[in-house]
Amino acid sequence: MDKIDWAAFPDARGHFGPYGGRFVSETLMGALDELQQVYEQYIGDPEFMAELDHDLKQFVGRPNPLYHAERLSQELGGAQIYLKREDLNHTGAHKVNNTIGQALLAKKLGKTRIIAETGAGQHGVATATVAARLGLECVIYMGEEDTRRQSQNVYRMRLLGAEVVGVKSGTRTLKDALNEAMRDWVTNVDDTFYIIGTVAGPHPYPAMVRDFQAVIGREAREQHLAMTGRLPDTLVACVGGGSNAIGLFHPFLADESVEMIGVEAGGDGVETGRHSAPLCAGQPGVLHGNRTYLMEDENGQIIGTHSVSAGLDYPGVGPEHAWLKDIGRVNYVSVTDDQALAGFHRLTRTEGIIPALETSHAIAHVLDLAPRMRPDQSIIINLSGRGDKDLNTVAEREGITL
């Protein structure tokens, strides 16, 4: 691979190679220009960054540990496994790294109303949390199917003062919540800031969310170097939209010795068509403001996705992932619902950490990968969220009524 200047992506118009860009209706173009301007101004501003760092430390609880999962490593008999403990963040997942940052930008722009889409509810909770803290009005769009799967998070958001709107159109999941949030934004663009939860959407969202999430990889890199004196061999993260994965991967992109693996949701198995793995089994198209890999039919209609985890149940993926796949820098694989559940139980019983079902996909892949590596090698898994929100789903699948 030729030397790539990773900092040069995306280009000024938000392109990662052929992916990304800004594919939205004209009404939103002005708001996106304004957002890009304010984001570029503040992301390099020492005062803003100090404010962000302060919030990440005092409110979110960063830095979180890079935990050596010794028992799991020993049991698997291969590589040493390290867990980047994003589950220990306030609100229980990596999502808050981004909502803290975007909410600060919303304040700078003088917006009084926050909207967001959510799948599993983690981004919704993280958004409702920062909105409560800043005293901003907050509306969360969530597919009706997901409000059922994640009823605890719905209640949590309402406790935090957010209005949760169940979206009844289309497949009633994350993609439809995104459509509805876009419709709200186009209608209320003057006073409303749309906090997108992942590294997708129109430019500058994929770059901006990545920059807010890159704190994960920066910390992990430093921590791994301090603990072992060397870089990790492999990074593994689950990929739905892909924000936790980009957050971990991005600060390591120039480290050529570090291999990276993104794990998509294979659902019932990619061969069944019932999955959420656009990078493994989709093709390039345009949805939700960017060009990226999509799950679609021969007419270009977006098709329904399936995953046991609501947070991965999305037919697209961040455009930077699409590009990293094409240039071969990151390898994308998938694991099935059943494998993810096995990963969920294994980590819970071996390390005393209950992971989110999204995260369990990354763990499942490592159960397979680690034994094929040497004990002097290491893997960092992004433990992107905790599993409390998934207890009902897991119990239900196992025929247990809570």
């Binding site: 939205v24 009404t27 459509n179 419709r183 003057d190 209609q301 098709i303």
Partner: protein, 277 residues
Amino acid sequence: MSRIEQRFAELREQNRAALIPYVTAGDPEPGATVPLMHALVEAGADLIELGVPFSDPMADGPVIQKACERALRFGTGLRDVLAMVAEFRKRDTTTPVVLMGYLNPVERMGYDTFAETAKAAGLDGLLTVDLPPEESEDVVDLLEQSAIDPIFLIAPTTSEARIDHVARAARGFVYYVSLKGVTGSQSLDVSALAERLERLRRHTGLPLGVGFGIRDAETAAQVARVADAVVVGSAIVRLAEEHDGDGAGYARAAAAVVGEMRRAMDAARSPGAAATV
């Protein structure tokens, strides 16, 4: 001269504003669309905007979302829609037809295949809501080779600098989105609209069409006084919901609404009508 230019030239001569009904292709069922298009023309439509059903119509309100869902029950795709245009052209060679939809179906078909097939079908313009001029260079070149006009939107939020940019890329006519919101929203402010259109005319010589939020004949007439074209979508498409499974009934109801708008618009432009809004 393209069919769109020709049509606007005729209308200018007659001091009339164009009436452009929007209908979603394949709604409520595939066989209904071509007869509906002919009925709209007979009722006074000057140009037809044919919606391409899409699974994720982000810029549309509930009425057109439901229309897409009804059309997708039968799997109506872009190729089917172009076949409908070709069928329509067998009987009508003068009424311009513009497709309105989202980029992904076009992207999936392939821009060159689309341009070729669309030209053969007799299509006149393409409006993709989620394709701003910045991302459209490749598409626009291919469309130009096929003599299909790329139609672009200008919104109340479009800056002066962008207006120039959009106006330079646009062909056929410029579609002014009359309000912040999705299709079928309420409350159009006609006096603010007049002012906005005046400013737009300093940037482009193309005809100015106005859409989003035109719910009845009265509003259509008010807009016809200040715009070159009036686009009406949800006010027609909602009739399809009432006539689900009855394409002929839908066509009759839609033609009645279009006829009423036509008369109101022409009266508003007639010499005896009040000149002010």
